[in-house]
């Protein structure tokens, strides 16, 4: 008994040491966000200091932070809602009305996700320029929706597959049409699955940093692009950078922690459950 306890203690120390080392940069960023600019760059780094909200106040006072955060919310929530709207009927028919072509369609959708964004940068940039979609929320929303659509269809499909067919059959007997079947039977039954699919899509859009850096400049720039503007060498404001970064990642970190289990399904296209 004593041996298992000491083994457990060793494991605890080792695992916590690794966890803290891995988490350290995030911890340090949160800590720095409560420092003054002077303390932020102090050597040796200061662990104990008078916490101040000055960094946050300054980032918020440059009213544009709110604008960038709003852009992130609009683009990630908007693209997710659109993707769900298109994906729910598709996943429904794949799960409950499979045809010989369903398998091929699903795999083809997966393969569209493999197209490297940089391979189509030029055409998308030119199409957007000609349609006036550069630096617009509409344009970025459309791109994110299409980017996540394959994952959303796949994840919904794996959740829908788990619903016993009898339940839907019963509804059909009672004369429910396709729309009623989806709205009143399927969606309430699979709400947790739909919610975690939506959350994964929000997380992926929120953190996306290829299209946001290349297709937006100021008006439609989300937080990923705003944070990138701190990279200029003359702009070494670590406390402000940390405050802005902490606010930018906090909501997503919490969402990610909440949905980690279901995320594995979506990220591996059902290959690991």
């Amino acid at each position: 008994m004593n041996q298992t306890l000491s083994k457990k203690l060793v494991l605890t120390l080792l695992a916590w040491f690794i966890a803290l080392v891995v988490f350290f940069p995030i911890f340090w960023m949160i800590l720095t966000s409560f420092k003054t600019e002077g303390e932020a760059v102090a050597t040796p780094p200061s662990l104990f200091f008078d916490p101040t909200l000055a960094g946050y106040h300054e980032v918020m006072a440059r009213a544009d932070y709110v604008k960038f955060a709003l852009n992130s919310v609009i683009v990630s929530v908007g693209s997710t809602l659109l993707a769900l709207l298109v994906a729910i009927p598709a996943a429904y028919s794949m799960a409950f009305l499979p045809t010989p072509r369903t398998r091929g369609t699903l795999l083809w959708m997966l393969s569209t996700k493999m197209l490297p964004p940089v391979g189509v940068l030029m055409p998308i940039y030119l199409i957007f320029r000609d349609l006036g979609l550069l630096d617009s929320l509409t344009g970025l929303t459309i791109v994110y929706m299409l980017m996540n659509l394959p994952i959303v269809v796949w994840m919904l499909y794996t959740f829908f597959k788990d619903v016993p067919r009898d339940i839907l059959e019963a509804g059909r007997m009672d004369g429910a049409g396709t729309l009623q079947e989806v709205l009143y039977l399927l969606m309430p039954l699979t709400l947790p699955g739909i919610a975690s699919t939506g959350l994964l899509s929000v997380i992926l859009s929120w953190n996306e940093a290829f299209w946001s850096l290349n297709l937006t400049t100021s008006d439609a720039a989300p937080l990923t692009a705003f944070i990138a503007s701190f990279s200029s060498p003359e702009g070494l404001f670590w406390a402000k950078l940390s405050a802005a970064s902490t606010m930018a990642i906090a909501p997503i970190l919490i969402l990610g922690w909440m949905t980690q289990k279901q995320m594995v399904r979506g990220l591996t296209f059902g290959a690991v459950k």
Binding site: K8, L11, A15, I18, W28, A209, V264, G270
Partner: protein, 295 residues
């Protein structure tokens, strides 16, 4: 038309109707840009010089393939993908075994260790660039000095290594998350039986755990490869591909050609090469997923 409305009798039509929006959107999203990239790659087309135009034949490709910058970028891409894969897959497997064990505060420790995966790439890169790796005020410089080493100017002397460290930090939690999920389906009885037969922890890991994780590991490798082939934001905010081309990968080279030089033809030829590389990996991934798919 009436048949279509009461699709129950004509199942195929109803399926078509339900899937049409998703399928047609993805089809457009894939085919139009793909076709345009292919078309541009055979054209003389520069946004800064509208006088240049017309069919270029294979000129864009010959120019690109004989440009030493491409081969530097390809080499950097391979190094970046290779090192990050090695670090995250080996590290992720070992950590999955560790975090599967019973210990105090396991739930919270797990949350902390997967956190970096949810941090947006621009934030990760800037935290590391400024607060960790800064040659004067960074935490690493302070640690190095503390132990009597010289502080390293990471981004000018070891640019690609720095990028590898940042990207590994972001993707290690991904590998861990997937492998931890996979390891939980390991049969406890089997492990117990092996232990009864006198197998040590290393033998159990090598002959039971690792074979069990084989498919999950291959999925992790393939998914990471697809994302790692086109790492962009981390390079964009830290080194801008420099010094020189020392940390330019294929994605960053295409970006330079496209949006800094506005050479549409050359950038598209680069894009075609990136698409071909990604597709080689994609074929294997799609096959693995297909094996696991019952429709």
């Amino acid at each position: 038309m009436r048949d279509r409305a009461s699709g129950r009798t004509v199942g195929g039509m109803r399926t078509l109707f339900l899937q049409a929006p998703a399928v047609s959107m993805l089809l457009l999203w894939m085919l139009v840009p793909l076709g345009m990239t292919l078309w541009f790659s055979f054209q003389r087309y520069n946004l800064l010089n509208p006088m240049i135009s017309g069919f270029a034949g294979l000129d864009n490709y010959t120019y690109l393939l004989t440009d030493p910058a491409l081969w530097t970028a390809m080499g950097n891409t391979l190094l970046l993908v290779g090192w990050v894969l090695a670090i995250t897959v080996v590290g992720g497997t070992l950590l999955a075994v560790l975090f599967q064990q019973e210990f105090f505060g396991r739930g919270i420790a797990r949350l902390l260790v997967i956190a970096p995966f949810f941090v947006m790439p621009t934030v990760s890169a800037l935290i590391w660039k400024n607060m960790m790796m800064h040659p004067v005020n960074g935490v690493l410089a302070w640690l190095f000095n503390l132990f009597g080493f010289h502080a390293v100017d990471w981004f000018s002397s070891l640019p690609l290594t720095s990028i590898v460290i940042i990207v590994s930090w972001e993707w290690l939690p991904f590998a861990l998350l997937i492998l931890l999920t996979a390891i939980q389906s390991l049969d406890d009885d089997q492990v117990e039986a092996a232990r009864m037969d006198g197998a040590g922890p290393i033998a159990i890991f090598w002959f039971i755990t690792l074979p069990h994780l084989k498919r999950a590991i291959s999925v992790v490798i393939m998914i990471e490869m697809i994302f790692l082939l086109t790492i962009f934001a981390e390079i964009f905010v830290t080194t801008s591909g420099g010094p020189g081309l020392a940390s330019t990968n294929l994605a960053y080279l295409i970006y330079i050609r496209a949006l800094l030089d506005f050479d549409v033809g050359g950038a598209s030829a680069g894009g075609v090469i990136a698409i071909i590389l990604a597709n080689i990996v994609a074929i294997f991934l799609v096959r693995t997923v297909a094996k696991n798919l019952e429709t």
